[in-house]
Amino acid sequence: MGYLEGFAVTLRQMFRPRVTIPYPDVKRPKPERFHGRHVLGRYEDGMEKCIGCELCAGVCPARCIYVRGADNPPDDPVSPGERYGFVYEINYLRCIHCDLCVEACPTEAITESKLFEFSFTDRRDAIYTKTELLVDDEGHPRHLPWEDWRAGDDEHTSAWMRATSPSGVAAYEGRVAWSGELGYGVRAPEEGQTAERRDPQATETPEATDAG
Protein backbone atom coordinates (compact mmCIF):
# COMPACT_ATOMS: atom_id res chain seq x y z
CA MET A 1 0.00 0.00 0.00
CA GLY A 2 3.03 2.23 -0.26
CA TYR A 3 1.51 4.21 -3.10
CA LEU A 4 -1.59 5.17 -1.17
CA GLU A 5 0.01 6.28 2.08
CA GLY A 6 0.55 9.78 0.76
CA PHE A 7 -3.15 10.16 0.13
CA ALA A 8 -3.90 9.17 3.71
CA VAL A 9 -1.40 11.76 4.94
CA THR A 10 -2.98 14.61 3.00
CA LEU A 11 -6.47 13.54 4.04
CA ARG A 12 -5.43 13.40 7.69
CA GLN A 13 -3.93 16.87 7.50
CA MET A 14 -7.34 18.30 6.58
CA PHE A 15 -8.50 17.78 10.15
CA ARG A 16 -5.38 19.03 11.89
CA PRO A 17 -5.30 22.54 13.40
CA ARG A 18 -4.05 25.29 11.13
CA VAL A 19 -0.56 26.68 11.61
CA THR A 20 -1.39 29.95 9.87
CA ILE A 21 -2.93 32.82 11.80
CA PRO A 22 -5.06 35.48 10.06
CA TYR A 23 -2.31 38.08 10.46
CA PRO A 24 -3.74 41.60 10.49
CA ASP A 25 -6.66 40.52 12.69
CA VAL A 26 -4.69 38.23 15.00
CA LYS A 27 -1.02 38.65 15.84
CA ARG A 28 1.45 36.32 17.39
CA PRO A 29 2.90 37.45 20.74
CA LYS A 30 6.16 39.25 20.15
CA PRO A 31 9.40 38.29 21.90
CA GLU A 32 10.06 40.22 25.10
CA ARG A 33 13.18 41.90 23.75
CA PHE A 34 11.77 42.64 20.32
CA HIS A 35 13.51 45.56 18.60
CA GLY A 36 10.91 47.94 17.26
CA ARG A 37 10.29 51.67 17.05
CA HIS A 38 12.31 53.76 19.53
CA VAL A 39 10.95 55.53 22.56
CA LEU A 40 12.64 58.33 24.54
CA GLY A 41 11.89 57.67 28.20
CA ARG A 42 11.25 59.98 31.13
CA TYR A 43 11.84 59.54 34.87
CA GLU A 44 8.96 59.01 37.21
CA ASP A 45 8.98 62.71 38.14
CA GLY A 46 8.51 63.65 34.48
CA MET A 47 12.11 64.66 33.77
CA GLU A 48 13.59 63.56 30.45
CA LYS A 49 16.26 60.91 30.68
CA CYS A 50 18.22 62.09 27.64
CA ILE A 51 21.27 64.23 28.46
CA GLY A 52 22.26 64.98 24.86
CA CYS A 53 25.59 63.13 25.06
CA GLU A 54 25.31 61.89 21.43
CA LEU A 55 26.71 58.44 22.29
CA CYS A 56 23.76 56.85 20.50
CA ALA A 57 24.50 58.85 17.35
CA GLY A 58 28.15 57.89 17.62
CA VAL A 59 27.53 54.17 17.93
CA CYS A 60 24.80 53.99 15.28
CA PRO A 61 26.11 51.83 12.39
CA ALA A 62 23.43 53.14 10.04
CA ARG A 63 24.04 56.78 11.02
CA CYS A 64 20.36 57.37 11.38
CA ILE A 65 20.41 59.30 14.69
CA TYR A 66 20.99 63.03 14.90
CA VAL A 67 21.33 64.55 18.38
CA ARG A 68 22.16 68.06 19.60
CA GLY A 69 22.65 68.71 23.30
CA ALA A 70 22.08 72.00 25.07
CA ASP A 71 22.55 73.36 28.61
CA ASN A 72 19.56 72.96 30.87
CA PRO A 73 17.86 76.25 31.66
CA PRO A 74 18.56 76.68 35.44
CA ASP A 75 15.05 77.83 36.31
CA ASP A 76 13.21 75.13 34.30
CA PRO A 77 15.47 72.07 33.77
CA VAL A 78 14.36 69.51 31.22
CA SER A 79 16.59 66.71 32.46
CA PRO A 80 18.16 66.06 35.87
CA GLY A 81 21.68 66.51 34.52
CA GLU A 82 23.65 69.50 33.28
CA ARG A 83 22.57 69.17 29.68
CA TYR A 84 19.61 67.79 27.76
CA GLY A 85 18.94 66.70 24.20
CA PHE A 86 17.10 69.53 22.52
CA VAL A 87 17.24 67.97 19.07
CA TYR A 88 16.70 64.25 18.73
CA GLU A 89 15.91 62.74 15.34
CA ILE A 90 15.86 59.16 14.03
CA ASN A 91 15.60 58.45 10.32
CA TYR A 92 13.61 55.25 9.97
CA LEU A 93 14.56 54.85 6.34
CA ARG A 94 18.04 54.05 7.63
CA CYS A 95 17.52 52.49 11.05
CA ILE A 96 18.27 48.75 11.16
CA HIS A 97 16.93 48.25 14.71
CA CYS A 98 20.22 46.80 15.96
CA ASP A 99 19.63 48.31 19.40
CA LEU A 100 23.24 49.51 19.74
CA CYS A 101 21.91 52.98 20.67
CA VAL A 102 20.06 51.38 23.57
CA GLU A 103 23.30 49.68 24.63
CA ALA A 104 25.26 52.89 24.41
CA CYS A 105 22.86 55.14 26.29
CA PRO A 106 24.27 55.93 29.77
CA THR A 107 20.91 57.04 31.17
CA GLU A 108 18.60 54.42 29.63
CA ALA A 109 16.89 57.28 27.82
CA ILE A 110 16.48 55.61 24.44
CA THR A 111 14.89 52.17 24.34
CA GLU A 112 12.84 50.30 21.80
CA SER A 113 9.17 49.38 21.88
CA LYS A 114 7.80 46.30 20.14
CA LEU A 115 6.05 48.28 17.42
CA PHE A 116 7.28 47.39 13.95
CA GLU A 117 4.18 48.00 11.84
CA PHE A 118 4.54 51.65 10.92
CA SER A 119 4.42 52.09 7.17
CA PHE A 120 4.34 55.77 6.29
CA THR A 121 3.53 56.94 2.80
CA ASP A 122 5.63 60.13 2.91
CA ARG A 123 9.42 60.09 3.18
CA ARG A 124 9.28 63.04 5.55
CA ASP A 125 7.25 60.94 7.97
CA ALA A 126 10.24 58.60 8.20
CA ILE A 127 12.17 61.12 10.29
CA TYR A 128 10.89 60.94 13.83
CA THR A 129 11.76 64.01 15.87
CA LYS A 130 11.77 64.41 19.63
CA THR A 131 8.06 65.28 19.49
CA GLU A 132 7.20 61.85 18.19
CA LEU A 133 9.82 59.87 20.11
CA LEU A 134 9.35 61.27 23.62
CA VAL A 135 6.72 59.56 25.76
CA ASP A 136 3.68 61.62 26.72
CA ASP A 137 2.82 62.86 30.22
CA GLU A 138 1.37 59.46 31.18
CA GLY A 139 4.57 57.78 30.08
CA HIS A 140 3.01 56.08 27.05
CA PRO A 141 4.57 56.31 23.60
CA ARG A 142 2.82 58.69 21.25
CA HIS A 143 0.64 56.97 18.68
CA LEU A 144 1.07 58.32 15.18
CA PRO A 145 -1.72 57.87 12.61
CA TRP A 146 0.16 55.30 10.56
CA GLU A 147 1.32 53.21 13.49
CA ASP A 148 -0.49 50.01 14.46
CA TRP A 149 -0.10 49.81 18.25
CA ARG A 150 -1.43 46.75 19.99
CA ALA A 151 -1.65 46.00 23.68
CA GLY A 152 1.75 45.09 25.10
CA ASP A 153 3.76 46.79 22.36
CA ASP A 154 5.01 49.42 24.82
CA GLU A 155 5.95 47.00 27.59
CA HIS A 156 9.55 46.57 28.69
CA THR A 157 10.78 49.74 27.04
CA SER A 158 13.21 50.53 29.82
CA ALA A 159 16.79 49.43 30.13
CA TRP A 160 15.19 46.17 31.13
CA MET A 161 15.28 45.13 27.51
CA ARG A 162 18.98 45.73 26.95
CA ALA A 163 20.53 42.91 24.97
CA THR A 164 23.12 42.25 27.69
CA SER A 165 20.58 41.83 30.41
CA PRO A 166 22.06 40.65 33.72
CA SER A 167 20.14 37.42 33.62
CA GLY A 168 23.10 35.86 31.89
CA VAL A 169 25.26 36.36 35.00
CA ALA A 170 24.12 34.42 38.03
CA ALA A 171 25.24 37.13 40.44
CA TYR A 172 22.84 39.66 38.92
CA GLU A 173 19.83 37.39 38.79
CA GLY A 174 16.68 39.00 40.12
CA ARG A 175 18.50 42.28 40.87
CA VAL A 176 17.01 45.50 39.54
CA ALA A 177 19.71 47.54 37.80
CA TRP A 178 17.58 50.07 35.98
CA SER A 179 15.75 53.24 36.84
CA GLY A 180 12.03 53.76 37.09
CA GLU A 181 9.96 55.18 34.31
CA LEU A 182 7.08 57.61 34.04
CA GLY A 183 3.79 55.72 34.07
CA TYR A 184 5.34 52.31 34.64
CA GLY A 185 7.57 52.68 37.70
CA VAL A 186 10.41 50.25 38.14
CA ARG A 187 10.02 47.15 35.98
CA ALA A 188 10.30 43.84 37.79
CA PRO A 189 13.31 41.67 36.96
CA GLU A 190 12.71 38.63 34.82
CA GLU A 191 13.21 35.13 36.02
CA GLY A 192 16.63 33.57 35.98
CA GLN A 193 17.71 31.07 33.39
CA THR A 194 17.00 27.88 35.25
CA ALA A 195 16.83 24.50 33.59
CA GLU A 196 13.04 24.34 33.72
CA ARG A 197 12.50 27.88 32.54
CA ARG A 198 8.99 28.76 31.57
CA ASP A 199 8.13 29.52 27.97
CA PRO A 200 8.81 33.24 27.47
CA GLN A 201 5.78 33.48 25.16
CA ALA A 202 3.52 32.26 27.93
CA THR A 203 4.95 34.51 30.68
CA GLU A 204 3.75 37.82 29.29
CA THR A 205 3.38 39.58 32.62
CA PRO A 206 0.09 41.46 32.80
CA GLU A 207 1.80 44.62 34.08
CA ALA A 208 0.77 47.89 32.42
CA THR A 209 -2.07 46.33 30.48
CA ASP A 210 -3.83 49.70 30.52
CA ALA A 211 -1.24 50.96 28.04
CA GLY A 212 -1.73 50.82 24.33
Binding site: G6, F7, V9, T10, L11, Q13, M14, R16, P17, R18, V19, T20, P22
Partner: protein, 397 residues
Protein backbone atom coordinates in the same frame (compact mmCIF):
# COMPACT_ATOMS: atom_id res chain seq x y z
CA UNK B 1 -32.25 12.41 -30.05
CA UNK B 2 -33.59 15.19 -27.91
CA UNK B 3 -37.43 15.09 -27.95
CA UNK B 4 -37.29 18.86 -28.30
CA UNK B 5 -36.78 18.58 -32.07
CA UNK B 6 -39.27 15.76 -32.71
CA UNK B 7 -42.16 18.10 -33.67
CA UNK B 8 -40.25 20.38 -36.00
CA UNK B 9 -38.25 23.47 -35.07
CA UNK B 10 -40.27 26.60 -34.27
CA UNK B 11 -39.45 29.89 -32.59
CA UNK B 12 -40.17 28.47 -29.14
CA UNK B 13 -37.69 25.64 -29.71
CA UNK B 14 -34.98 28.06 -30.85
CA UNK B 15 -35.62 30.23 -27.78
CA UNK B 16 -35.39 27.18 -25.50
CA UNK B 17 -32.09 26.19 -27.09
CA UNK B 18 -30.73 29.73 -26.68
CA UNK B 19 -31.85 29.69 -23.06
CA UNK B 20 -30.12 26.37 -22.50
CA UNK B 21 -26.91 27.70 -24.08
CA UNK B 22 -27.01 30.78 -21.86
CA UNK B 23 -27.70 28.80 -18.71
CA UNK B 24 -24.92 26.34 -19.51
CA UNK B 25 -22.43 29.11 -20.26
CA UNK B 26 -23.17 31.09 -17.12
CA UNK B 27 -23.23 27.94 -15.04
CA UNK B 28 -19.82 26.91 -16.38
CA UNK B 29 -18.29 30.33 -15.75
CA UNK B 30 -19.60 30.40 -12.18
CA UNK B 31 -18.53 26.81 -11.59
CA UNK B 32 -14.99 27.66 -12.73
CA UNK B 33 -14.88 30.53 -10.23
CA UNK B 34 -16.11 28.19 -7.51
CA UNK B 35 -13.75 25.43 -8.63
CA UNK B 36 -10.73 27.70 -8.25
CA UNK B 37 -11.93 28.70 -4.80
CA UNK B 38 -12.69 25.07 -3.92
CA UNK B 39 -9.27 23.92 -5.06
CA UNK B 40 -7.43 26.62 -3.14
CA UNK B 41 -9.47 25.96 0.00
CA UNK B 42 -9.02 22.18 -0.06
CA UNK B 43 -5.32 22.47 -0.85
CA UNK B 44 -4.85 24.89 2.03
CA UNK B 45 -6.76 22.53 4.32
CA UNK B 46 -4.42 19.72 3.34
CA UNK B 47 -1.40 21.96 3.98
CA UNK B 48 -2.66 23.20 7.38
CA UNK B 49 -3.19 26.69 6.02
CA UNK B 50 -6.26 28.90 6.00
CA UNK B 51 -6.44 29.71 2.31
CA UNK B 52 -8.33 32.60 0.73
CA UNK B 53 -10.50 34.26 3.36
CA UNK B 54 -10.46 37.99 2.68
CA UNK B 55 -12.80 38.47 -0.29
CA UNK B 56 -16.39 37.68 0.60
CA UNK B 57 -17.57 35.08 3.11
CA UNK B 58 -14.93 32.30 3.40
CA UNK B 59 -13.08 33.97 0.52
CA UNK B 60 -15.75 32.90 -1.96
CA UNK B 61 -15.26 35.97 -4.12
CA UNK B 62 -11.48 35.56 -4.34
CA UNK B 63 -11.48 34.24 -7.91
CA UNK B 64 -13.86 37.02 -8.95
CA UNK B 65 -11.47 39.58 -7.47
CA UNK B 66 -8.53 37.93 -9.25
CA UNK B 67 -10.49 37.91 -12.49
CA UNK B 68 -11.32 41.61 -12.23
CA UNK B 69 -7.70 42.39 -11.46
CA UNK B 70 -6.37 40.42 -14.40
CA UNK B 71 -8.75 42.21 -16.77
CA UNK B 72 -7.06 45.51 -15.98
CA UNK B 73 -3.55 44.21 -16.57
CA UNK B 74 -1.54 45.33 -19.56
CA UNK B 75 -2.07 43.12 -22.59
CA UNK B 76 1.31 42.43 -24.18
CA UNK B 77 1.90 41.33 -27.74
CA UNK B 78 5.50 40.17 -28.32
CA UNK B 79 7.25 41.87 -31.22
CA UNK B 80 8.11 38.57 -32.91
CA UNK B 81 4.67 37.08 -32.37
CA UNK B 82 2.31 36.06 -35.14
CA UNK B 83 -0.40 38.46 -34.02
CA UNK B 84 -3.50 36.76 -35.44
CA UNK B 85 -2.59 33.27 -34.24
CA UNK B 86 -1.34 34.61 -30.93
CA UNK B 87 -4.74 36.19 -30.33
CA UNK B 88 -6.63 33.13 -31.58
CA UNK B 89 -4.89 30.44 -29.52
CA UNK B 90 -6.42 31.11 -26.07
CA UNK B 91 -9.89 31.09 -27.59
CA UNK B 92 -9.24 27.69 -29.17
CA UNK B 93 -8.39 26.34 -25.74
CA UNK B 94 -11.35 27.97 -24.03
CA UNK B 95 -14.01 27.26 -26.63
CA UNK B 96 -13.15 23.56 -26.81
CA UNK B 97 -13.23 23.35 -23.03
CA UNK B 98 -16.71 24.89 -22.98
CA UNK B 99 -18.03 23.00 -25.98
CA UNK B 100 -17.05 19.62 -24.56
CA UNK B 101 -19.47 20.13 -21.69
CA UNK B 102 -22.38 20.53 -24.11
CA UNK B 103 -22.95 16.78 -24.47
CA UNK B 104 -22.90 16.01 -20.74
CA UNK B 105 -26.34 15.04 -19.39
CA UNK B 106 -26.73 16.77 -16.03
CA UNK B 107 -30.20 15.43 -15.28
CA UNK B 108 -33.22 13.67 -16.69
CA UNK B 109 -35.65 15.58 -18.84
CA UNK B 110 -37.53 18.78 -18.23
CA UNK B 111 -40.66 20.34 -19.70
CA UNK B 112 -40.40 24.01 -20.67
CA UNK B 113 -43.57 25.64 -22.09
CA UNK B 114 -44.98 22.33 -23.27
CA UNK B 115 -41.74 21.21 -24.89
CA UNK B 116 -39.95 18.22 -23.39
CA UNK B 117 -36.19 18.49 -23.47
CA UNK B 118 -33.17 16.71 -21.98
CA UNK B 119 -31.17 18.48 -19.34
CA UNK B 120 -28.16 18.59 -21.59
CA UNK B 121 -27.27 21.17 -24.17
CA UNK B 122 -27.08 18.76 -27.08
CA UNK B 123 -27.43 15.02 -27.56
CA UNK B 124 -25.74 14.27 -30.88
CA UNK B 125 -25.67 10.59 -31.93
CA UNK B 126 -21.87 10.88 -31.88
CA UNK B 127 -21.58 12.43 -28.40
CA UNK B 128 -18.51 10.47 -27.29
CA UNK B 129 -16.72 11.18 -30.58
CA UNK B 130 -17.49 14.85 -30.05
CA UNK B 131 -15.80 14.72 -26.65
CA UNK B 132 -12.69 13.10 -28.12
CA UNK B 133 -12.68 15.62 -30.97
CA UNK B 134 -12.84 18.53 -28.57
CA UNK B 135 -9.97 17.20 -26.49
CA UNK B 136 -7.97 16.79 -29.71
CA UNK B 137 -8.67 20.34 -30.85
CA UNK B 138 -7.57 21.62 -27.44
CA UNK B 139 -4.07 20.51 -28.42
CA UNK B 140 -4.18 23.11 -31.19
CA UNK B 141 -4.71 25.84 -28.60
CA UNK B 142 -1.54 24.77 -26.82
CA UNK B 143 0.49 24.23 -29.98
CA UNK B 144 -0.54 27.50 -31.64
CA UNK B 145 0.02 29.48 -28.43
CA UNK B 146 3.59 28.25 -28.16
CA UNK B 147 4.35 28.56 -31.83
CA UNK B 148 2.92 32.04 -32.34
CA UNK B 149 4.68 33.52 -29.30
CA UNK B 150 7.76 34.07 -31.47
CA UNK B 151 10.08 32.78 -28.76
CA UNK B 152 11.86 29.44 -28.56
CA UNK B 153 11.00 28.58 -24.97
CA UNK B 154 7.23 28.74 -25.37
CA UNK B 155 7.71 26.71 -28.56
CA UNK B 156 9.62 24.03 -26.64
CA UNK B 157 6.97 24.10 -23.96
CA UNK B 158 4.18 23.68 -26.47
CA UNK B 159 5.99 20.78 -28.16
CA UNK B 160 6.31 19.03 -24.82
CA UNK B 161 2.70 19.79 -23.95
CA UNK B 162 1.23 18.65 -27.23
CA UNK B 163 3.38 15.49 -27.23
CA UNK B 164 1.98 14.68 -23.81
CA UNK B 165 -1.61 15.41 -24.79
CA UNK B 166 -1.43 13.44 -28.02
CA UNK B 167 0.20 10.45 -26.29
CA UNK B 168 -2.44 10.17 -23.62
CA UNK B 169 -5.28 10.74 -26.05
CA UNK B 170 -4.69 7.23 -27.41
CA UNK B 171 -5.01 5.56 -24.00
CA UNK B 172 -8.00 7.73 -23.15
CA UNK B 173 -9.72 6.92 -26.43
CA UNK B 174 -9.18 3.18 -25.97
CA UNK B 175 -10.64 3.24 -22.47
CA UNK B 176 -13.67 5.18 -23.73
CA UNK B 177 -14.14 2.70 -26.56
CA UNK B 178 -14.65 -0.02 -23.96
CA UNK B 179 -17.62 1.94 -22.65
CA UNK B 180 -18.97 2.46 -26.14
CA UNK B 181 -18.62 -1.25 -26.80
CA UNK B 182 -20.59 -2.12 -23.69
CA UNK B 183 -23.34 0.40 -24.32
CA UNK B 184 -23.51 -0.13 -28.08
CA UNK B 185 -24.00 3.57 -28.73
CA UNK B 186 -22.01 6.80 -28.98
CA UNK B 187 -24.75 9.01 -27.56
CA UNK B 188 -23.97 10.16 -24.01
CA UNK B 189 -27.66 10.14 -23.13
CA UNK B 190 -28.02 6.53 -24.23
CA UNK B 191 -24.85 5.55 -22.35
CA UNK B 192 -26.36 7.00 -19.18
CA UNK B 193 -29.65 5.18 -19.78
CA UNK B 194 -27.70 1.97 -20.33
CA UNK B 195 -26.26 2.23 -16.81
CA UNK B 196 -29.61 2.67 -15.06
CA UNK B 197 -31.11 0.02 -12.81
CA UNK B 198 -29.55 -2.73 -10.73
CA UNK B 199 -26.26 -4.24 -11.78
CA UNK B 200 -24.37 -7.45 -11.00
CA UNK B 201 -25.56 -9.18 -7.84
CA UNK B 202 -28.64 -7.02 -7.67
CA UNK B 203 -27.07 -4.78 -4.99
CA UNK B 204 -24.42 -2.82 -6.83
CA UNK B 205 -25.45 -0.18 -9.36
CA UNK B 206 -25.16 -1.06 -13.03
CA UNK B 207 -22.36 1.44 -13.55
CA UNK B 208 -19.70 0.88 -16.18
CA UNK B 209 -16.96 1.25 -13.60
CA UNK B 210 -18.19 -2.05 -12.10
CA UNK B 211 -19.47 -3.91 -15.16
CA UNK B 212 -16.28 -3.22 -17.14
CA UNK B 213 -14.03 -4.38 -14.31
CA UNK B 214 -12.68 -0.98 -13.23
CA UNK B 215 -9.62 -1.04 -15.48
CA UNK B 216 -11.01 1.23 -18.24
CA UNK B 217 -12.05 3.70 -15.56
CA UNK B 218 -8.58 3.76 -13.99
CA UNK B 219 -6.97 4.20 -17.39
CA UNK B 220 -9.43 6.94 -18.25
CA UNK B 221 -8.75 8.70 -14.94
CA UNK B 222 -4.97 8.64 -15.42
CA UNK B 223 -5.05 9.48 -19.12
CA UNK B 224 -7.57 12.28 -18.67
CA UNK B 225 -5.49 13.78 -15.87
CA UNK B 226 -2.52 13.82 -18.20
CA UNK B 227 -4.69 15.11 -21.05
CA UNK B 228 -5.76 18.20 -19.14
CA UNK B 229 -2.29 18.76 -17.65
CA UNK B 230 -3.32 18.46 -14.03
CA UNK B 231 -0.88 17.37 -11.35
CA UNK B 232 0.87 14.94 -11.22
CA UNK B 233 1.10 15.37 -15.00
CA UNK B 234 1.43 19.16 -15.04
CA UNK B 235 4.84 19.20 -16.71
CA UNK B 236 3.36 21.68 -19.12
CA UNK B 237 2.92 24.30 -16.46
CA UNK B 238 5.20 23.06 -13.65
CA UNK B 239 4.86 26.28 -11.74
CA UNK B 240 7.83 25.58 -9.48
CA UNK B 241 10.24 25.00 -12.38
CA UNK B 242 9.02 26.65 -15.56
CA UNK B 243 7.10 29.88 -15.71
CA UNK B 244 4.17 28.29 -17.47
CA UNK B 245 5.78 26.72 -20.54
CA UNK B 246 3.73 27.38 -23.64
CA UNK B 247 1.90 30.47 -22.33
CA UNK B 248 4.97 32.27 -21.02
CA UNK B 249 4.42 35.24 -23.33
CA UNK B 250 0.75 35.67 -22.48
CA UNK B 251 -0.63 38.25 -20.11
CA UNK B 252 -3.89 39.82 -19.02
CA UNK B 253 -7.18 38.40 -20.34
CA UNK B 254 -5.54 35.97 -22.73
CA UNK B 255 -3.53 34.50 -19.87
CA UNK B 256 -6.71 34.24 -17.82
CA UNK B 257 -8.40 32.39 -20.68
CA UNK B 258 -5.79 29.62 -20.51
CA UNK B 259 -6.46 29.26 -16.80
CA UNK B 260 -10.19 29.33 -17.41
CA UNK B 261 -9.75 26.52 -19.95
CA UNK B 262 -7.59 24.55 -17.54
CA UNK B 263 -10.11 24.61 -14.71
CA UNK B 264 -12.98 24.19 -17.14
CA UNK B 265 -11.26 21.05 -18.44
CA UNK B 266 -11.02 19.66 -14.93
CA UNK B 267 -14.76 20.04 -14.51
CA UNK B 268 -15.49 18.61 -17.97
CA UNK B 269 -13.23 15.60 -17.49
CA UNK B 270 -14.84 14.86 -14.13
CA UNK B 271 -18.29 15.21 -15.70
CA UNK B 272 -17.30 12.84 -18.50
CA UNK B 273 -16.02 10.31 -15.97
CA UNK B 274 -19.34 10.54 -14.11
CA UNK B 275 -21.27 10.15 -17.37
CA UNK B 276 -19.30 7.27 -18.82
CA UNK B 277 -18.44 5.27 -15.71
CA UNK B 278 -20.67 6.33 -12.83
CA UNK B 279 -24.11 6.39 -14.38
CA UNK B 280 -24.31 10.16 -14.82
CA UNK B 281 -27.43 11.51 -13.15
CA UNK B 282 -28.84 8.08 -12.29
CA UNK B 283 -29.63 7.39 -8.66
CA UNK B 284 -32.55 6.72 -6.35
CA UNK B 285 -35.47 9.15 -6.66
CA UNK B 286 -37.47 10.01 -3.55
CA UNK B 287 -40.83 11.75 -3.38
CA UNK B 288 -39.61 14.44 -0.97
CA UNK B 289 -38.68 16.83 -3.77
CA UNK B 290 -39.72 17.15 -7.44
CA UNK B 291 -38.62 14.26 -9.62
CA UNK B 292 -36.43 16.40 -11.87
CA UNK B 293 -34.41 17.54 -8.87
CA UNK B 294 -32.91 14.21 -7.81
CA UNK B 295 -30.95 13.31 -10.98
CA UNK B 296 -29.39 16.78 -10.94
CA UNK B 297 -28.45 16.35 -7.29
CA UNK B 298 -26.88 12.94 -7.93
CA UNK B 299 -24.94 14.25 -10.89
CA UNK B 300 -23.48 17.16 -8.96
CA UNK B 301 -22.67 15.02 -5.93
CA UNK B 302 -20.72 12.61 -8.13
CA UNK B 303 -19.05 15.53 -9.88
CA UNK B 304 -18.04 17.04 -6.56
CA UNK B 305 -16.47 13.78 -5.43
CA UNK B 306 -14.40 13.73 -8.61
CA UNK B 307 -13.34 17.34 -8.28
CA UNK B 308 -12.30 16.67 -4.70
CA UNK B 309 -10.27 13.69 -5.88
CA UNK B 310 -8.48 15.85 -8.43
CA UNK B 311 -7.54 18.37 -5.75
CA UNK B 312 -6.53 15.56 -3.43
CA UNK B 313 -4.36 14.09 -6.18
CA UNK B 314 -2.69 17.44 -6.64
CA UNK B 315 -1.96 17.76 -2.92
CA UNK B 316 -0.56 14.24 -2.57
CA UNK B 317 1.47 13.22 -5.60
CA UNK B 318 4.76 14.67 -6.85
CA UNK B 319 5.18 15.55 -10.51
CA UNK B 320 6.24 12.93 -13.09
CA UNK B 321 9.52 13.18 -14.95
CA UNK B 322 9.07 13.52 -18.69
CA UNK B 323 10.46 10.06 -19.59
CA UNK B 324 8.35 8.48 -16.84
CA UNK B 325 5.34 10.22 -18.31
CA UNK B 326 6.02 8.84 -21.78
CA UNK B 327 6.82 5.36 -20.41
CA UNK B 328 3.57 5.25 -18.50
CA UNK B 329 1.55 6.42 -21.46
CA UNK B 330 2.99 4.35 -24.27
CA UNK B 331 4.33 1.22 -22.54
CA UNK B 332 1.77 0.71 -19.79
CA UNK B 333 -1.54 2.45 -20.39
CA UNK B 334 -1.99 1.92 -24.12
CA UNK B 335 -1.20 -1.84 -24.04
CA UNK B 336 -3.35 -2.27 -20.92
CA UNK B 337 -6.25 -0.37 -22.46
CA UNK B 338 -5.94 -2.31 -25.71
CA UNK B 339 -5.81 -5.63 -23.85
CA UNK B 340 -8.87 -4.84 -21.78
CA UNK B 341 -10.77 -3.62 -24.83
CA UNK B 342 -10.05 -6.86 -26.72
CA UNK B 343 -10.99 -8.92 -23.67
CA UNK B 344 -14.35 -7.17 -23.39
CA UNK B 345 -14.92 -7.58 -27.11
CA UNK B 346 -14.09 -11.30 -26.87
CA UNK B 347 -16.48 -11.76 -23.96
CA UNK B 348 -19.23 -9.95 -25.85
CA UNK B 349 -18.74 -12.04 -28.98
CA UNK B 350 -18.61 -15.19 -26.84
CA UNK B 351 -21.92 -14.21 -25.24
CA UNK B 352 -23.52 -13.65 -28.65
CA UNK B 353 -22.20 -16.96 -30.02
CA UNK B 354 -23.04 -18.94 -26.86
CA UNK B 355 -19.43 -19.93 -26.09
CA UNK B 356 -18.33 -21.06 -22.65
CA UNK B 357 -17.76 -17.75 -20.77
CA UNK B 358 -14.97 -19.00 -18.47
CA UNK B 359 -13.14 -20.55 -21.43
CA UNK B 360 -13.33 -17.26 -23.33
CA UNK B 361 -12.07 -15.38 -20.27
CA UNK B 362 -9.24 -17.85 -19.68
CA UNK B 363 -8.03 -17.90 -23.27
CA UNK B 364 -8.36 -14.13 -23.51
CA UNK B 365 -6.34 -13.50 -20.35
CA UNK B 366 -3.67 -16.03 -21.42
CA UNK B 367 -3.35 -14.50 -24.85
CA UNK B 368 -3.21 -11.03 -23.30
CA UNK B 369 -0.51 -12.06 -20.84
CA UNK B 370 1.50 -13.61 -23.65
CA UNK B 371 1.37 -10.43 -25.71
CA UNK B 372 2.17 -8.30 -22.65
CA UNK B 373 5.13 -10.54 -21.88
CA UNK B 374 6.40 -10.25 -25.44
CA UNK B 375 6.02 -6.49 -25.26
CA UNK B 376 7.89 -6.30 -21.96
CA UNK B 377 10.65 -8.45 -23.47
CA UNK B 378 10.87 -6.16 -26.49
CA UNK B 379 11.10 -3.07 -24.30
CA UNK B 380 13.79 -4.71 -22.16
CA UNK B 381 15.81 -5.81 -25.19
CA UNK B 382 15.70 -2.40 -26.77
CA UNK B 383 16.75 -0.76 -23.50
CA UNK B 384 19.68 -3.18 -23.12
CA UNK B 385 20.73 -2.50 -26.70
CA UNK B 386 20.53 1.23 -26.13
CA UNK B 387 22.69 0.84 -23.02
CA UNK B 388 25.23 -1.20 -25.01
CA UNK B 389 25.36 1.42 -27.72
CA UNK B 390 25.81 4.15 -25.17
CA UNK B 391 28.67 2.21 -23.58
CA UNK B 392 30.43 1.51 -26.86
CA UNK B 393 30.03 5.17 -27.78
CA UNK B 394 31.58 6.08 -24.43
CA UNK B 395 34.44 3.61 -25.00
CA UNK B 396 35.19 4.86 -28.52
CA UNK B 397 35.68 8.42 -27.29
Amino acid sequence: MDPLFSNGVGLAVVLIVVLKVLVTFVFLLVSVLLMIWFERKIISDMQNRIGPNRAGPWGLLQSLADGIKIFFKEDLLPEQADAAVFRLAPYVSTVTAFAAFAVIPVGGSLSIAGHDTFLQLADPPVGVLFLLAMSSIAVYGVMLAGWSSGSKYPLLGSVRASAQMVSYEAAMGLSVVAVVLAAGTLSTHAIVLDQAGRGPGGILPNWNVITLGGVPFLIYLIAATAEINRPPFDLVEAEQELVGGFFTEYSSVRFALFYLAEFMNTITVSAVAVTLFFGGPSGPVYSVLPRTFWPILWFFLKLLVFLFCYVWLRASVPRFRYDQLMDLGWKRLIPAALFWLLLIAAIQIGRDQGWNPSLVLGVGVLAGLAVMGALALAVRTSRLRADDEAQSLEASR
